[in-house]
């Protein structure tokens, strides 16, 4: 079933790309140009950096995918081939296989990294498919799990200050609950889904939380602010 779907998807992709020749039409549609994923030399095709033309029969194929099992499979090798510190160092921590990542089914269209990102460009930041920035999880999850913690509240005005509010995976710092601006696009005072979760780069053996279970709640709820039973 899944294999058949993949073959059909691949066939559609191939045919589409062949039909479009240099792919300018779809290129515009796909909006690579002008996005951060436009890595082409000006005036040259923008698609070939992810869709590699087949040397032998001019078919347009996916990048090869050896080692298709395990955590480093599906779209990960392709994304990593640039996000590894060479083409960009952005998000390189997302490939630390010891860290949890939001559930994905490697190689399944729409359920891999492309569950949340569309590499061809989206109206939202970070190539995210859904609006909401640091609250964007709500676009798919109506209920925020058993914790179901309130979000979009100004924590600091309520006198709550995380003891550790920094979280900077680029500096090897994977601890802390971040407070966000009201719109969830940058630092601020608000509680958001991404205060406790980090889609990639969370604490091992958690629901990709930014702190281990033992210290997550007490990072904010201390003293009088203890978590009510």
């Amino acid at each position: 079933m899944a294999a058949a779907a993949r073959i059909i998807a691949a066939a559609i992709l191939g045919v589409t790309l062949i039909m479009l020749g240099t792919s300018t039409t779809l290129g515009e549609d796909r909006r690579i140009s002008g996005t951060q994923h436009d890595v082409a030399i000006p005036g040259t095709p923008v698609c070939m950096y992810c869709h590699i033309p087949h040397a032998a029969n001019a078919e347009t194929l996916w990048a090869s995918k050896p080692n298709m099992t395990g955590a480093f499979s599906g779209l990960r090798p392709l994304c990593f081939s640039c996000h590894d510190g060479t083409v960009t160092s952005l998000g390189s921590f997302a490939f630390d296989l010891a860290r949890p990542l939001h559930m994905r089914s490697p190689g399944v269209v729409g359920a891999d990294c492309d569950r949340c990102h569309d590499a061809h460009g989206t109206p939202y930041a970070k190539f995210l498919k859904l609006p909401g920035a640091a609250d964007f999880c709500q676009g798919c999850h109506a209920v925020a799990g058993p914790v179901n913690h309130p979000v979009d509240i100004d924590a600091r005005s309520l006198g709550i200050e995380p003891q550790d509010s920094s979280w900077n995976p680029y500096a090897g710092d994977f601890h802390g609950t971040r407070l966000w601006s009201e719109d969830g696009t940058g630092p601020g005072d608000y509680m958001k889904c991404l205060s406790c979760h980090a889609t990639h780069g969370g604490e091992p053996d958690t629901s990709f939380n930014t702190m281990p279970s033992g210290s997550l709640c007490t990072n904010c709820h201390v003293g009088k602010r203890q978590v009510p039973e």
Binding site: V39, A40, T44, S64, P66, S89
Partner: protein, 341 residues
């Protein structure tokens, strides 16, 4: 001048399956032979039972894999070089350099807390010192083998004013360095004091004979020719010692003999060119004229789905007939190269 890899005839599309299977069947024997020939490397291999030691034979002679160095495992290492009995690894994800002692099979962290690195992407040696491309700090750090900081070369800013991002470094025989700057798409030749002798590249994404689109690993042959992995242009550019474009090697593709995402480069004494490819999960070999010779690492070079000893190969180096591949996820994998003639 050139050579052919044992088994490189399997590159033919009609490669008989049965023979490949029988080759795989010889794996244990081969590894035993390797252990006999290179006993000094064994302690490392034995160190940890969870080690990812590949015992399969791959067409070009897969040899052995050095496991993770136990405690304080490395995280996405990008390059390694050998000095005598020690291997120095750019432990990129942990922002440090590791020293692996072959004899003791243990890893030590170089330099301790005094040495701060920010995403070291490449490492080179002149046999005495280590040169580290400290990518996010925009400088080259020079260390002695004990990890003592000798000096730091701060690279000049590029046209846009953004800090440089060095991701490749090589030692020029006779003095000086070649450094690639991914941010400004240029290759710099530095003299022994760290001053810029020449710079090649347009300052923006480019190609042809003048430019690069993310220049990455660099290496220099004994005649002083410079080899630059031009990552997004899917080629290796050969420059003269004065920075003149001589030729390019490789073309874009995802089949054996083409390049998808080249990462590392090394040149042996016959000037054959070895290129690691992060997407093909293999090392490809070209003769000095750019003719494709064979592929190292994959079980079936013609099948893009076939298993590989490599996962995401990056920096490569050749020392005493051993090709050392630093793989961002599989760790260090060493291949014994066939004898040359």
């Amino acid at each position: 001048m050139s050579f052919s890899f044992p088994g490189s005839e399997q590159l033919l599309p009609e490669a008989p399956r049965a023979r490949m299977l029988s080759v795989a069947g010889l794996a244990a024997l081969f590894v035993a032979a390797m252990a006999f020939i290179f006993p000094s490397l064994l302690p490392l291999s034995r160190e940890s039972s969870s080690a990812r030691i590949s015992t399969a034979v791959y067409p070009a002679g897969q040899a052995w894999a050095l496991p993770h160095p136990g405690e304080g495992e490395w995280l996405m290492p990008a390059g390694a070089v050998t000095i005598g009995d020690a291997i120095f690894v750019a432990d990129t994800g942990n922002n440090r350099i590791l020293r692996l002692e072959r004899e003791r099979g243990r890893a030590t962290v170089l330099g301790g807390a005094g040495l701060t690195l920010q995403m070291p992407m490449a490492i080179a040696t002149d046999g005495q010192r280590l040169f580290v491309a400290n990518s996010l700090a925009g400088d080259i750090v020079i260390l002695d083998p004990s990890g003592q900081l000798e000096s730091t070369i701060t690279l000049p800013a590029g046209a846009t004013g953004a800090p440089p991002r060095p991701i490749g470094v090589a030692v020029v025989p006779g003095g000086g360095l070649v450094v690639s700057d991914a941010e400004h798409h240029r290759v710099l030749r530095l003299d022994a004091a760290g001053a810029v002798v020449w710079s090649v590249g347009t300052g923006a994404r480019g190609g042809g004979t003048e430019g690069f689109n993310v220049p990455a690993a660099v290496t220099v042959d004994d005649a002083g020719n410079i080899y630059v992995v031009d990552t997004l242009n899917a080629r290796v550019v050969v420059l003269s010692s004065t920075g003149r474009f001589i030729r390019q090697i490789g073309e874009r593709g995802d089949t054996a003999g083409t390049l998808a995402r080249p990462k590392g480069v090394a040149v042996d004494e016959t000037r054959d060119i070895f290129v690691s490819d992060g997407l093909l999960a293999a090392v490809e070999v070209f003769d000095p004229d750019g003719k494709y010779l064979g592929l190292i690492g994959r079980r079936d070079p013609s099948d893009v789905q076939s298993t590989s000893a490599l996962v995401a190969p990056a920096g490569i180096s050749i020392t005493d007939g051993v090709l050392l591949v630093t793989d961002r996820h599989a760790g260090l994998v060493a291949f014994d190269l066939p004898p040359r003639h």
